[in-house]
């Protein structure tokens, strides 16, 4: 079915170096927000999932990274995505962004999306505040407000090349937070932040979710972060979603023993001995 057809197209179209170049492929692909009312997609009916993934798979050459992934995300749902390094989290996110043209299966997403890439992807030739405004209509004041929220309004006029790792990450966050997405895709968005800033960003994310109620997919390596922020926790391993846990809706599910139990379960799913707590059993040297 669909899978076979994609395969054919995927192998038939893009032969290595000669053809279509990066910019070319991007341009001849579709454009987010571009408005294609007569396009292949429809409108959401209330209650339907906003993200539908069916039989999704991705292989690079012989290597199968993901296979047969089915997933629905509902409006307003915050899902955390955990998984070993190289398990395919970013690959899945790229597909949801609509920038992966070599995947199999069928994926539908809302047109209004916002993304924080794992590698930030700031345009080096645009000052920080202009980077925040890429693709949205807004004034410098809007950009400054967004930068203020992530705590780097002071660097608004800097070139991205001069930012520290955490600063770039926060610009990428501001860039996502200034939008009103129906789908928010965050690829390890807090990885380069210190504890304090990270907590602030957690707060901001919650606020944004409360305001616009987007479906959110948050890739993180921090199990605690997943438990604090997510309604639903997904673990990828061996190319599939091996665990799909819904966190209870009340606060108790995120604290105390319930949280500790969940933490242990997630860690064991990730291959870590859950009894292995930090600052315990290593004797140094």
């Amino acid at each position: 079915m669909a899978l076979e057809l994609r395969d054919e197209v995927a192998t038939g179209s893009e032969p290595a170096v000669t053809q279509p170049s990066a910019p070319l492929r991007a341009l001849t692909g579709d454009t987010a927000y571009a408005g294609d009312p007569a396009g292949a997609a429809g409108s959401a009916r209330a209650g339907e999932p906003v993200v539908k993934i069916r039989g999704y798979g991705r292989r690079f050459g012989d290597r199968v990274v993901l296979e047969g992934v089915d997933l629905d995300l509902a409006d307003g749902e915050v899902a955390a995505l955990l998984g070993a390094s190289g398990s395919g989290k970013s690959t899945l996110l790229r597909a949801l962004c609509g920038i992966d043209h070599g995947a199999d299966g069928h994926v539908t997403v809302p047109k209004e999306r916002a993304v924080v890439f794992q590698d930030h992807r700031l345009l080096p030739w645009k000052k920080v505040w202009r980077n925040v405004l890429i693709g949205v209509k807004g004034s410098k004041a809007d950009a400054l407000a967004a930068l203020q929220e992530v705590g780097i309004a002071g660097r608004a006029d800097a070139w991205p090349g001069t930012l520290s790792g955490g600063e770039s990450q926060r610009v990428a966050l501001a860039r996502a937070f200034i939008r009103r997405p129906r789908l928010l895709l965050l690829d390890e968005p807090f990885g380069a932040l210190d504890a304090l800033t990270r907590l602030r960003m957690h707060g901001l994310l919650r606020e944004l979710c409360a305001r616009h109620n987007p479906a959110t997919l948050l890739v993180t390596h921090d199990v605690d972060e997943a438990i604090t922020l997510a309604d639903r926790i997904l673990v990828i391993s061996d190319g599939r979603i091996s665990l799909d846990h819904r966190v209870g809706d009340d606060a108790s599910a995120r604290s105390g023993t319930a949280a500790l139990a969940l933490r242990a379960r997630l860690l064991s799913e990730l291959g870590v001995n859950p009894n292995h707590r930090p600052h315990q059993n290593h004797e140094k040297r």
Partner: protein
């Protein structure tokens, strides 16, 4: 939440392709995947030249141009076949290829070295760069007599003239390429223990390679251009000689045959550089999926 409706799109799957249609149609001239697949095939590269041929034939048929200024494709083809058959064209091609080959080698070596000296050393930059910019606007045509005085009228002079012209695109592009190498990678290489030559070999040259190849593309083109000037000096064969000769004898057919040979050489050099690119820049294509 109220029942606000939002637009959706398919990002993976059958419809994802169709959603490319509007833009593909606008740019690519055909919206169906079938068309994209056809255009993707390498054979379509010959379409442009074929259209050109058609336009030429049309121009001749409509008859606006005199046969002296624009002969018909078939006439030119006949002349071409004749010139190939009697060996003139092939031997001219070989002679010119040798001159261009030697000149290119010389120019690339000199231009490349100067670009490296100039882009990697402050003193080199100060001394070399302005002089290069002074020389490169001096017209080859005007320099021909000086070349003759200094290098004589033999093969050496012709090779030097080609080399001279090649130096500049190589210099400019390699210089710019070196300067555009990501400094983070250079410092990383340094910190990782690479010495001067290690840095140049492992970081700077690979980083500048794409732009160097652009320079090479231009140099290959330029070398054929100056060949005509170089072969005004005491040449007894060669493509440049042939075309000047044909021009003076008003042998428009021959002139067009040689022009077509030049254009085929242009195509060939492009394919050559593409092959070099595919071979040396394969790491770039790996970004395809990121």
């Amino acid at each position: 939440m109220s029942a606000v409706s939002y637009d959706y799109e398919v990002v993976v799957g059958k419809a994802a392709e169709d959603s490319e249609r509007p833009i593909a149609k606008r740019i690519a001239g055909g919206g169906l995947s079938v068309w994209r697949r056809i255009w993707s095939s390498r054979g379509t590269r010959f379409l442009g030249p074929l259209i050109l041929l058609g336009v030429w034939q049309l121009a001749v048929s409509v008859g606006h141009a005199s046969p002296l200024s624009l002969p018909s494709p078939s006439n030119v083809f006949t002349t071409g076949r004749h010139l190939v058959a009697n060996g003139t064209l092939i031997s001219a091609l070989l002679v010119s290829l040798r001159r261009v080959g030697l000149g290119l080698a010389l120019g690339v070596a000199i231009g490349g070295s100067l670009a490296l000296l100039s882009s990697l050393s402050l003193v080199g930059e100060r001394l070399i760069d302005p002089v290069m910019h002074m020389f490169r606007t001096m017209p080859v045509l005007a320099l021909l007599p000086l070349f003759v005085v200094w290098f004589g009228i033999g093969e050496k002079a012709k090779v030097f003239i080609v080399g001279w012209a090649v130096v500049f695109p190589i210099y400019i592009n390699l210089y710019a390429g070196v300067r555009s190498v990501d400094e983070k990678l250079v410092t990383a290489g340094k910190v990782l223990g690479l010495g001067r030559w290690g840095l140049i070999r492992h970081v700077i040259l690979p980083g500048a390679l794409p732009q160097f190849l652009t320079g090479l593309r231009l140099a290959l083109g330029v070398s054929w251009l100056v060949l005509v000037a170089a072969e005004e000096i005491n040449a007894t064969s060669g493509l440049g000689y042939m075309i000047t000769n044909a021009q003076n004898l008003s042998e428009t057919n021959v002139m067009f045959v040689v022009l077509i040979v030049f254009s085929l050489l242009g195509l060939a050099t492009d394919i050559l550089v593409r092959l070099i690119e595919r071979w040396t820049l394969s790491w770039r294509s790996s970004f395809v999926t990121k």
